[in-house]
């Protein structure tokens, strides 16, 4: 095949999710282990405080158990989880709690993965570059930022479209717009 049209990422893990003989809460915990950090990261980039992100994550996985108990659609549980966490954090839970307006403010409360093999100079350069990138992503308008972050975490365009209730082409436009702005800033 020419020009590298091979898929760069695996398909959604939810598609092959089966309960089998496992207890339902073990299945949910398995999903939690696989996805909770990515969802937290997404919420952090949405400007959600770590406390509220924790609440949203806990509630999303509790709802996942109810969803599975009720034999809900399992074709794409990853997108389902993102959608629930997104709606909880951005619409339902934020009423009584404080939501940060600046995603960078939230990102300050996070840490950066450090490669132990890096030299101090390289580490410093990488850190600086990473900070600039993070700031660039944080300064994107809300929807392009959400699209870019979800795409960066391996969600396919149709999954992002499902989470945000947009068309696939609109998501592609937002990702394109977001990436262009990030490139300009960096």
């Amino acid at each position: 095949m020419s020009a590298g049209f091979l898929p760069t990422r695996q398909s959604s893990w939810g598609e092959s999710s089966t309960v089998g003989s496992m207890a339902l809460h073990d299945v949910v915990l398995e999903h939690y282990d696989r996805e909770h950090m990515a969802i937290r990261r997404y919420l952090v980039f949405c400007g959600i405080s770590p406390d509220l992100a924790e609440d949203a994550v806990q509630e999303a996985f509790l709802r996942l158990q109810v969803h599975l108990e009720r034999n809900g659609d399992r074709t794409n549980l990853r997108a389902w989880l993102y959608r629930v966490a997104h709606n909880l954090a951005l619409h339902e839970l934020q009423g009584a709690r404080h939501r940060l307006s600046d995603p960078l403010e939230t990102a300050e409360g996070t840490s950066r993965a450090i490669d132990p093999a890096e030299s101090p100079e390289q580490s410093l350069l990488d850190k600086e570059r990473s900070n600039r990138l993070r700031m660039a992503i944080g300064r994107l308008p809300e929807v392009p930022r959400q699209c870019v972050v979800m795409r960066a975490q391996g969600l396919r365009f149709r999954e992002i479209a499902e989470v945000l209730g947009l068309s696939v082409s609109t998501v592609a436009e937002h990702v394109q717009r977001g990436l262009r702005q990030v490139r300009e800033i960096v």
Partner: protein, 221 residues
């Protein structure tokens, strides 16, 4: 070969993610194979995506150390509640979420929620059992077993320990549906309220031992 019209950025980005339709692939693949300019632009988009992926992945959001443990407990409580209580089974998730638990001392809100939901479920099923299946219910503890004082207006729940002592118990405030309380034979003097605050006395085993309605100032029964 040079083309007068090049592939759009949207097409290039989606081609990186293998998200083109068959028609789009039939159009884009030969073009890319022959057009150095589009290949270069596609490479640049791929590099941008990789850069952003690396940046996003490098952010490690803070998460409470006991988050997984707390979720596991809440999942089990939710699962047990749904299995053990016919009343709870009919409660929607939304109504469970509306139970506002204020544990003393304060803990994390989601732990409160999980605790409140399981307590309310246990209380409601216990009350229903007491009302509808009195011949099956275990003997209630002697109300005098509850220490005298502010707590002496608690209604003992079936299966609660006869050795209940408020010194060893914990009080959790939850919101209970008025309809469920009335159905269980408990008079609530708040005709217009859908939910009322109630104090639940928890034993050392974490099981609800007694209940009293608090927000309308009336004692139970």
């Amino acid at each position: 070969m040079t083309y007068a019209v090049h592939l759009s950025d949207d097409l290039l980005i989606r081609s990186i993610d293998a998200e083109l339709s068959l028609d789009e692939r039939l159009y884009a693949e030969p073009h890319l194979a022959a057009c150095e300019s589009c290949r270069r632009r596609r490479r640049e988009w791929a590099e941008s995506l990789e850069l952003v992926e690396t940046c996003v992945a490098s952010v490690v959001p803070s998460a409470p150390a006991n988050s997984r443990m707390r979720l596991a407990a809440a999942l089990r409580a939710q699962s047990d509640s749904n299995e053990s209580s016919p009343i709870v089974g009919s409660l929607s998730l939304e109504s469970i979420r509306r139970m506002d638990a204020r544990r003393v001392p304060a803990t994390h809100p989601w732990r409160q929620l999980a605790v409140a939901a399981s307590i309310a479920c246990a209380v409601l099923s216990g009350l229903a059992l007491q009302r509808y299946l009195p011949f099956m219910a275990a003997p209630s503890p002697d109300p005098s077993a509850v220490e005298a004082g502010a707590e002496n207006d608690y209604l003992p729940l079936p299966y609660s320990s006869a050795a209940l002592s408020t010194a060893q118990a914990e009080v959790v405030r939850v919101q209970m549906p008025v309809s469920a309380l009335r159905e269980a034979g408990i008079d609530v003097a708040s005709p217009d309220e859908e939910y009322v605050d109630a104090d639940i006395l928890l034993g050392l085993d974490g099981q609800p031992q007694g209940i009293r309605v608090v927000n309308d100032g009336s004692a139970l029964n």
